[in-house]
């Protein structure tokens, strides 16, 4: 337990002392929310999104987008660690090596939850009116946590796979781009026929639709929220299990550059 607390403290300090990245990750949700609601929101017709206001539609999508950005930050943090001598020190110490990665994951979860809270806060300020009961709120938050954990482990694995921090940075780009090809910003059915099946079936969509269904009472796919939630949980669990196993393996077998 001590190992884990120490590692979490370390990763949290590292996050807080990188003001540039820290503020970007906090500014991003605010700016994106304002951008989507006030710039694009007017053009999004209510019929297509089946919502009163675009804010009612877009909040889950922005949460996922910010989590993708947060995952990129985690990938960079892990890759930076791996390219420094401190990893060898940790590994030659009598500590659980898993705690090093767990520290990154915990810090990633904290950063992302903060970003999520901002999306929710700004969303409420610009007109988002969720109809969810307290139980549905809890379920939505559980969904977010599951998704963030899956993305964080995926990012940790990516950070271990790539050669260094610069390469890890490109992971941010990839993960941030995927939500655009989901039901995050517009329903899949409004897309060009070639993209529709991709957007409807990629892992981000059920996660987004679960939140949307819980908060607004209906999904944009028309499927019941239970169906989307089941898919989302399966996706998150699978991504989490595979990435965590791969990351732990890579961590044990890769040496500092």
């Amino acid at each position: 337990m001590t190992d884990l607390t120490v590692m979490i403290t370390r990763c949290t300090r590292r996050s807080l002392r990188d003001p540039e990245a820290f503020f970007t990750s906090l500014l991003l949700p605010v700016i994106l929310m304002l951008l989507f609601v006030y710039v694009f929101g007017g053009a999004m017709n209510a019929e297509a999104t089946s919502t009163r206001e675009y804010a009612d539609y877009v909040v889950p999508g922005l949460i996922v987008l910010c989590a993708g950005f947060g995952a990129g930050t985690t990938a960079v943090a892990v890759a930076t660690d791996m390219s420094s001598g401190i990893i060898d020190r940790f590994r030659s110490m009598p500590i659980r090596s898993s705690s090093v990665l767990a520290g990154h994951i915990a810090a990633s979860l904290a950063r992302n939850l903060l970003a999520t809270a901002l999306v929710i806060g700004v969303g409420l300020a610009v007109g988002w009116r969720p109809s969810a009961s307290p139980a549905q709120w809890l379920a939505a938050i559980a969904m977010i946590i599951a998704f963030i954990l899956a993305m964080s482990w995926l990012a940790a694995m990516a950070g271990l796979l790539v050669g260094g921090p610069e390469a890890a940075n490109s992971v941010t780009f990839a993960i941030m781009f995927l939500p655009y090809l989901s039901s995050a910003f517009v329903p899949a059915r409004t897309m060009t026929p070639a993209l529709r099946p991709i957007a409807a079936n990629q892992p981000f969509t059920p996660v987004i639709e679960t939140m949307r269904g819980l908060w607004m009472g209906r999904t944009s796919t028309g499927a019941p929220v239970g169906h989307e939630a089941l898919l989302a949980v399966i996706y998150c669990a699978a991504i989490l299990a595979c990435s965590a196993a791969a990351a732990s393996y890579l961590f044990r077998h890769r040496t500092a550059a």
Binding site: T2, D3, V6, T9, R10, R13, R14, R17, D18, S84, G85, I86, D88, R89, F90, R91, S92, M93, P94, I95, T255, A256
Partner: protein, 262 residues
């Protein structure tokens, strides 16, 4: 004689079949400074990483600080500390935070960890920089912090991989003083170096690693006498020059490398 490290026939190959270590035997006496000397690529770091349990040897056995490398790597890890070629400290944290963090990881309770950190900051002349981020430290200060971290738990054996590479002469001298101080306190130090004068001035025993084998071993004085040289430089050149037949008692060990040496 008590050996802190006793290694026999350590072999390690990496992909492609290159034998980085080709049967290394090593015996390091307790409380001494042992220098592993060799050019870049001689396998020094690989050997240190094996002895510090970071790599598994393909063949060979070793007892490190009383623990068998193969059957009790956790025991080895409890008795050693490794300072790698790249300073192994977190440069976003301050010197004090680094020391407290490492002390906590070594199971010191929080108050004792803080006391030990303060003690070491003073001992390693880092009081003024204690609460500054390591990023702002000079190379020599980083090294000193690195060494301070290494001795938090008072390990009986310390590995230092190229401890002075990249340091200016003054920092180098300071580092040497610290290493001598550690040995005087009863700690066994195994260090690698490519600097002959470092081995000469610091080590009780020098082993020359070349093409994966120990090709000469002894005190700096013995090596000089044996090769009738005034400096270790000449010994080193004589040992590593093409076609060298090896020293008495070791002939044959490395004969198949003859001609391959550039």
């Amino acid at each position: 004689m008590t050996y802190t490290i006793k290694a026999d026939g350590i072999v390690k190959s990496f992909g492609g079949g290159t034998r980085v270590l080709d049967g290394v035997d090593l015996a390091v006496e307790k409380g001494t400074i042992f220098a592993l000397l060799g050019p870049n690529g001689a396998g020094k770091t690989t050997l240190v990483r094996i002895l510090a349990t970071l790599l598994k040897p393909d063949a060979g056995t070793a007892t490190v600080a009383g623990h068998d490398l193969r059957t009790d790597p956790a025991g080895v890890r409890r008795s050693i500390s490794l300072t790698g070629q790249y300073t192994a400290v977190d440069d976003v944290l301050t010197g004090r935070e680094n020391l407290v963090m490492m002390a906590r990881l070594l199971r010191l309770p929080a108050p004792r960890a803080r006391r030990r950190a303060a003690e070491l900051l003073t001992a390693f002349d880092l009081d003024d920089a204690a609460d500054k981020r390591v990023k702002t430290y000079s190379g020599g200060m980083r090294r000193r912090l690195d060494l301070a971290v290494s001795v938090i738990a008072r390990p009986p054996l310390i590995f230092l991989d190229e401890p002075t590479t990249g340091l200016d002469p003054r920092s180098r001298n300071q580092t040497w003083d610290v290493v001598r101080g550690l040995a005087a306190g009863g700690v066994t130090v195994l260090l690698t170096t490519q600097y002959l004068d470092e081995a000469d001035r610091l080590a009780d025993t020098v082993a020359v690693l070349h093409h994966g084998r120990i090709i000469a071993q002894g005190t700096p004085a013995q090596l000089k006498a044996r090769h009738d040289s005034a400096s270790l430089d000449e010994v080193f050149l004589a040992l590593t020059e093409p076609g060298h037949a090896g020293e008495p008692g070791h002939a044959g060990h490395h004969s198949r490398h003859e001609g391959a040496i550039r």
